[in-house]
């Protein structure tokens, strides 16, 4: 819904949007939620794009080449996957999230550098609600994440710089098993952890109007260590290795730290009340402004406001078919969810801005999620 969530997040989303919302829906579990996202969709479906070649020319090798060559220059994303286990009961929630992302940087196409990033997070959230005069509910929430993060780097010498391997090097993926070994054993990585904290507040009027504030990512300091390769790190952690080629001698480099900024977000949500027709049709409207501190620090401007604005509307029919439309930083997003009680499938198309200014570098994405579990 346009990236909103400060006042409108539900279920698993609350762990990363606003912990004060944990108690809104007090029955939820997912075992698991799987999500896959492909970026740069527009280029893949263009005439001569990877999908066009794959289906009209039946040439998987060339389609894969074109997939690699469709990577744009500068900072971007290529694909990502996520697996989550979540559980909420009453006012407390637990979540375990694993993500694997492939980022890109550099000149684009085969000359791009692909950066691997993996995250494993264990989250705990709790909210405490107070109801006044039966229809005004104030909730205070707090959440903590134990996050382990690893990403590929250029080398182990000198200042740590994000790096990886050449996109062109994976073009021989079909024929050359050594490529996987060279990535696992030859690309140095950084690995470490952080314990960021989130705090949230909501005011709710009869479950129709909600105003919310969230202070997220407090204490976002990552303490990292460099290693000579993914497998060397894996060997140090588990005693084993990935793939069929054993790594060379494990080498541990220096330690460093980096800071991820905290964010103050605000938002409100409007929902249709329960009863009558509204038992069959639910409509939710949400509006958020994120990074409010940065907005004021940079000087309030129309462009600064638009880039931090999230808004969206959701139409839910019989609580089974959900249709979403939103604006995230001025870019449209669309979503559809088929929720069949113990399982759901979610499709999302959105565009994100990767440039310094609005319009500099929009990158679109398509995401598909599958969940087994219960939302109530």
């Amino acid at each position: 819904m346009g990236g909103t969530g400060v006042a409108s997040a539900r279920y698993a989303e609350v762990f990363y949007s606003n912990p004060a919302l944990v108690g809104v829906d007090n029955q939820f579990f997912s075992l698991p939620l799987l999500s896959f996202t492909l970026y740069n969709v527009n280029k893949l479906v263009q005439p001569g794009g990877a999908l066009d070649i794959l289906f009209t020319q039946d040439d998987p090798d060339r389609a894969f080449d074109q997939l690699v060559n469709s990577i744009g220059s500068g900072r971007g994303d290529v694909l990502s996957g996520q697996m989550s286990f979540g559980f909420i009961s009453g006012i407390t929630g637990l979540s375990i999230d694993t993500t694997l992302d492939v980022h890109s940087q550099g000149q684009g196409g085969e000359a791009s550098t692909l950066v691997l990033e993996g995250n494993f997070a264990f989250s705990l959230a709790i909210s405490v609600p107070f109801t006044v005069a039966g229809q005004h509910t104030f909730s205070f929430g707090a959440g903590a994440h134990l996050v382990f993060r690893g990403f590929s780097i250029q080398d182990m010498e000198g200042p740590v710089r994000v790096g990886g391997f050449s996109a062109g090097s994976i073009l021989g993926f079909y024929d050359d098993e050594d490529i996987l070994a060279s990535v696992l054993n030859g690309v140095p990585v950084a690995f470490g952890f952080a314990i960021p904290l989130d705090f949230g507040f909501t005011y709710d009027w009869r479950e129709v109007f909600t105003f919310a504030l969230a202070l997220r990512n407090v204490n976002g300091d990552y303490h990292m260590q460099t290693y000579s390769g993914v497998n060397q790190l894996y060997y140090m952690l588990t005693g084993g290795y990935l793939g069929s080629t054993p790594p060379g001698q494990a080498e541990q480099g220096g330690s460093f730290s980096f800071h991820t900024p905290m964010s103050l977000d605000a938002g409100f949500a409007l929902r249709t009340p329960d009863g009558g027709l509204w038992d069959w049709i639910d409509v939710t409207f949400a509006f958020d402004v994120v990074d409010i501190w940065d907005l004021f620090r940079e000087g309030v401007s129309a462009e600064g406001f638009v880039s931090r604005m999230r808004t969206g509307i959701e139409l839910s029919l019989m609580r089974t078919f959900d249709f979403r439309f939103g604006l995230n930083g001025g870019y449209m997003s669309f979503g559809f969810t088929f929720d069949f009680q113990i399982m759901s499938i979610d499709l999302t198309y959105a565009t994100l801005e990767y440039g310094d200014r609005v319009g500099d570098k929009p990158l679109d994405l398509f995401s598909i999620s599958f969940r087994i579990g219960l939302e109530n």
Binding site: F36, L38, V41, N42, L44, V45, Q46, P47, G48, G49, A50, L51, D52, L54, F55, T56, P60, A63, F64, L67, N69, G72, S73, G74, Q107, G108, G109, E110, A111, I170, F173, Y174, L180, A302, E303, V306, L327, G329, G330, Y331, M332, F334, L347, Y349, T351, E353, G355, R357, V358, G359, D360, K361, P362, D364, F366, I368
Partner: protein, 249 residues
């Protein structure tokens, strides 16, 4: 195995979304329109500065007429006139700077595209046509007229004075500058038309988008604007010149 899994994932993605072989054009048009930022017109953009730079670059082509021609090593475009100095570097730098400024910005690209597609001033149009004529004459000096025409057609498309756009002015100017720089390396070296043709052919075998992009990026240009301004034929010409220079040195 992993590559196959990736391709399989894409197939599953297509099956789930219901897209078929016939639907890609539709999907492309759809996603292209959905990528637009709805606040673009409200926020505006600084494409005005870019357009001003390009106009400056176009106007910089003026002194060409004053100096009377380009020097190509020992060859001079207009026989009998001496080569003083190239007036093209300022133009080229302006263009490169402008291209870099506009890198990847869709809004700027659209505005610049519209600007460059407009008709050039009468003076500029006449200058382009006369430059084309000078270039034609010099290339013909290099050898056989038929071959010269063949090479020429790869450098510049046929110029019709009635329809010269600002893009023609910039593009021709850029090609001439690169050619001038390249052939300066061959001062006192005999260059014949076969050498030129052969090198151009080598450079034009591959015309894929990524190839052109890589050249644009190597020149410090943003891909989108490089494509917009330069168009494919320009980069083929540039590539031919660059390869010509590399091979001979």
């Amino acid at each position: 195995m992993r590559g196959k899994l990736l391709v399989s994932s894409i197939i599953v993605l297509c099956l789930v979304t219901g897209c078929s072989m016939d639907s890609f054009a539709f999907l492309y048009d759809l996603t292209s329109s959905l990528k637009e930022n709805v606040f673009t017109d409200v926020l505006g953009s600084d494409a005005g500065a870019l357009i001003a730079d390009i106009d400056d670059a176009i106007s910089a082509i003026g002194p060409l007429e004053y100096y009377g021609g380009y020097a190509l090593g020992t060859h001079v475009f207009v026989p009998g006139m001496e080569y003083e100095s190239s007036i093209m570097p300022p133009l080229a730098w302006s263009i490169l700077d402008s291209l870099s400024m506009a890198s990847e910005n869709r809004v700027k690209v659209e505005k610049v595209t519209a600007h460059l597609s407009s008709r050039a001033d009468e003076d500029d149009a006449a200058l382009v046509v006369s430059t084309y004529g000078m270039f034609d004459a010099v290339v013909k000096q290099l050898g056989d007229e038929h071959k010269a025409h063949d090479v020429l057609s790869r450098f510049v498309r046929t110029i019709d004075e009635e329809n010269v756009t600002k893009r023609d002015v910039v593009a021709l100017g850029t090609v001439m500058y690169v050619l001038s720089c390249a052939l300066e390396c061959f001062d006192e070296v005999h260059v014949d038309i076969d050498m030129v043709a052969q090198e151009f052919d080598m450079g034009m075998d591959e015309v894929g988008t990524s190839y052109i992009d890589s050249i644009a990026l190597a020149l410090g240009m943003g891909k989108s604007v490089a494509r917009t301004i330069g168009s494919q034929w320009l980069f083929q010409a540039l590539d031919g010149v660059l390869m010509f220079m590399r091979g001979a040195m």
